[in-house]
């Protein structure tokens, strides 16, 4: 069930109504109800894939109990490994097998061995990477003792399948979300209204910003050979905002929906495109739940207690290389995240000299210096994201080189440009207000009337200027 579908707009209020009809003291009943609603939500795509979700849940649940039960460290480790292997095997089979089989075949063919590996025609289960990582994170946390084992199966199953963040995150941590299923959530006026406002903002980002950008970006990137450098440049500059609107839009709807029900999900985006002063900073602000997952479960274990700079750099690069694969079984994603990995290695290496340089010339707090860094960071991100969006590596190279070698006026779509410009202006006002902590805030105004008028106008703005065709969210494919 898509967030931007009529079905969800009916489903969500009904779920809220029934949820709050169950007395807050009947915690178990409420959790069972949310669990059923979450599976219903997920089964709307393809019912049979709920079995995968259930398998992942059962495996990690049992593994965690095993880890907790055994005293012997090697047995604990065996339980963790079993959980990792089984979950990653499912992920590999459904998401990566065909990709690897294709590439192995190609390598074998080029060396004269025409072996054909079996092909599985499986539809990629929606959100498999998200819930698998969330469940694996729990197993690892239990192993390291940073979270308590959850023995109540329905509560744990709800943690893995909680419908607001099930298919595209934020990838929640067990020590944040699990305890919330054990608290009584009373119907709280402020929470509900704040949640609704966050959801409406999410819909704005998805339907007005992302989907408007996608009309232009898709027409260029899906027909690369038919366009010139001007169109390449404009589409490349627009894509980060499409991606941001799409993914942050989903996260805001998820966070808002959870808030309405009384749950606090983690922040997933903190204004990454206008205010990041370095690529490092960008990844601290962008897709925070995934970045922190990779940092905590891949990068830090890899670095360990090493103080060697070369090993830190290698670990960063490997982490981002894996992150590329997490995003999808395609070389474009791997290349995109390898570029990010490369940027971060450079960032790490230049960190000390830059700090010295900034101190010497007193640049740290100079606004123009910050903006110079922000613009440079944005352009670096744009280059990496061209690979992320392009349909092939060759297309990405054509787009980047075409910007310089095939100059020309961009394909005009004036009406769409105006709509995107208006949406970007609204986004900028909101993000500048948050970043610079301006005193006025329409959405969070102390005035009841202002807050409500804001909601009404935003809803009407979305109805008038949104792309309401029910497009998929980009991150669903991951």
């Amino acid at each position: 069930m898509l967030f931007n579908s009529i079905a969800f707009l009916l489903f969500f209020p009904i779920v809220c109504l029934l949820y709050f009809c169950i007395p807050a003291s009947r915690l178990r009943m409420r959790n069972l109800f949310l669990l059923a609603a979450s599976y219903y939500f997920y089964m709307n795509w393809k019912p049979v894939y709920a079995l995968l979700l259930l398998t992942s849940t059962v495996v990690t649940y049992l593994a965690a109990i095993g880890i907790d039960h055994f005293e012997d460290k090697s047995k604990k480790k065996a339980c963790l490994i079993a959980s990792l292997v089984l979950n990653l095997a499912i992920l590999f089979l459904f998401k990566y097998y065909n990709f690897f089989a294709e590439n192995i075949e190609m390598v074998l063919q080029s060396s004269g061995l025409g072996i054909q590996l079996p092909e599985f025609k499986l539809l990629l289960p929606v959100g498999i990477s998200f819930y698998t990582f969330q469940a694996l994170g729990y197993s690892i946390d239990v192993y390291y003792g940073t979270t308590k084992v959850e023995r109540d199966f329905p509560t744990y199953a709800l943690f893995v399948s909680f419908f607001p963040q099930l298919v595209a995150g934020p990838i929640e941590r067990s020590n944040n979300l699990l305890p919330q299923f054990k608290k009584e959530h009373r119907l709280d006026y402020e929470s509900v209204m704040a949640g609704v406002r966050i959801m409406v903002w999410g819909y704005f980002m998805k339907l007005v910003l992302a989907d408007r950008c996608s009309l232009y970006v898709d027409s260029i990137f899906n027909h690369v050979s038919m366009h010139n450098g001007g169109s390449y440049l404009l589409a490349s500059l627009m894509f980060p905002f499409q991606l941001y609107g799409d993914f942050a839009g989903y996260s805001f709807i998820a966070i808002g929906a959870a808030r309405v029900l009384g749950f606090q999900l983690m922040e997933n985006f903190r204004r990454p495109y206008f205010f990041s002063v370095s690529v490092q900073d960008y990844w601290k602000r962008n897709h925070i739940s995934l970045t922190s997952w990779f940092m905590d479960y891949v990068y830090y274990p890899m670095v360990g207690s090493s103080t060697k700079l070369w090993w830190w750099c290698t670990a960063i690069f490997i982490t981002f290389f894996i992150s590329g694969f997490w995003h999808g079984a395609a070389w474009t994603f791997v290349m995109s995240f390898s570029i990010f990995g490369f940027y971060l290695v450079i960032c790490t290496l230049k960190e000390r000299p830059q700090r010295k340089f900034e101190k010497k010339y007193g640049l740290k707090k100079k606004e123009w210096w910050l903006w110079l860094n922000r613009i440079l960071t944005f352009l670096l991100v744009v280059v990496a994201l061209v690979f992320f969006r392009a349909n092939s590596l060759q297309d990405a190279v054509t787009v980047i080189s075409g910007i310089f070698t095939h100059p020309g006026a961009p394909m005009p779509e004036y009406a769409n440009f105006i709509a995107i410009g208006m949406a970007l202006a609204i986004l900028m006002v909101k993000e500048f207000a948050e970043e610079y902590q301006w005193k006025f805030s329409v959405a969070e105004s102390p005035s009841w009337l202002v807050r409500h008028v804001y909601l009404i106008l935003m809803i009407c703005y979305i109805i008038l200027f949104g792309v309401l065709g029910g497009d998929q969210f980009i991150y669903f494919q991951f």
Binding site: Y414, M422, I459
Partner: protein, 305 residues
């Protein structure tokens, strides 16, 4: 709980009120915009009084020069081609609105494969006509089939969703200026198409579309409007059976059919094309002369009523 109920009620009522006021404002914008499609649809619905109406999509919009055709056949001509109204459902909506008020002598419908072949997003383009929702029951039936009926009923603002920005921009920028009775010339492109591709014949036929072509034809007959089908040039090759579905229908209903695509008109003139699908002004003028002459011949042969 009471506080929440008041808030929800306030927001719902507020959305309803703003939606209705916004709908009225957008109707005004729609009636005063100088954007490309808005004024044309308005003309077809409220103002058309020409003898000959050309109907179709952007290819019609930019291929038929009314002054050239009018000079040749001695009748007033209006080019009612609407950009992106890319199949028979959109044309059927326009026809119903048009015939509500005015019976032209001839309607020339620029047909294409989208009028009979299955396509992705069949009803995508009918939203352009949503501002006129509620004015004609038969036109509204297409919205019902597309699943938009209740959405348009519920929200007046939503009726303007697809064209809101261009309509508002059209208040300041006159993209309709320089037009010739609905004809909006395509500018000369930087590059003309080079590669001549071969397009396959469509085999997936949409029976609902066929049904609506028949409805279109019958409606014209009921109103004693002569109907002509034509296909203007494309820069691509097709097999002789490419339009057989439409040709059989035309034969069945005795409708003249001018097919310049299959016969490969202007394939030796890539300089007439803006892209594979569209002629630019120079090509449109050359083509309009040929078409006008053929149309004149057809009209002379038709029995006088």
């Amino acid at each position: 709980m009471k506080k929440l109920a008041i808030s929800i009620l306030f927001v719902l009522v507020g959305v309803f009120v703003v939606d209705r006021i916004g709908g009225m404002a957008m109707w005004w914008v729609n009636q005063h915009t100088h954007d490309v499609s808005g004024p044309k649809i308005k003309h077809l619905v409220f103002d058309a009084d020409e003898d000959v109406i050309m109907m179709g999509t952007s290819r019609c919009n930019s291929h038929y020069v009314p002054s050239i055709i009018s000079d040749s056949i001695g009748m007033s001509v209006y080019n009612g081609g609407v950009d992106a109204s890319n199949n028979i459902f959109a044309h059927y909506i326009v026809l119903n609105h048009l015939l509500d008020r005015h019976n032209p002598k001839v309607i020339c419908l620029e047909v294409q494969a989208n009028d009979f072949a299955r396509q992705h997003g069949t009803f995508n383009s009918i939203s352009f006509f949503a501002p006129y929702f509620g004015l004609n029951e038969h036109a509204d039936s297409v919205f019902r089939m597309a699943g938009n009926y209740w959405k348009y009923k519920a929200s007046h603002l939503y009726r303007y969703n697809s064209k809101a920005v261009s309509n508002i921009a059209g208040l300041a920028i006159n993209r309709h200026a320089g037009g010739d009775n609905g004809y909006i010339p395509n500018p000369q492109p930087a590059h003309h198409p080079q590669v001549l591709r071969h397009s396959k014949t469509y085999v997936n036929i949409d029976t609902t579309k066929i049904c609506y072509i028949k409805r279109f034809v019958n409606l014209c007959r009921q109103h004693h409007v002569k109907l002509v089908f034509m296909i203007s040039p494309w820069f691509e090759k097709v097999d002789n059976d490419h339009y057989n579905v439409l040709k059989l229908l035309a034969k069945q209903y005795d409708i003249p059919f001018l097919d310049y695509h299959t016969q490969g008109l202007f394939l030796d003139h890539p300089d007439y094309f803006r892209d594979i699908t569209h002629l630019w002004d120079k090509g449109a003028r050359a083509y309009s002369s040929i078409f006008a002459s053929d149309l004149k011949h057809i009209l002379e042969q038709l029995p006088k009523e």
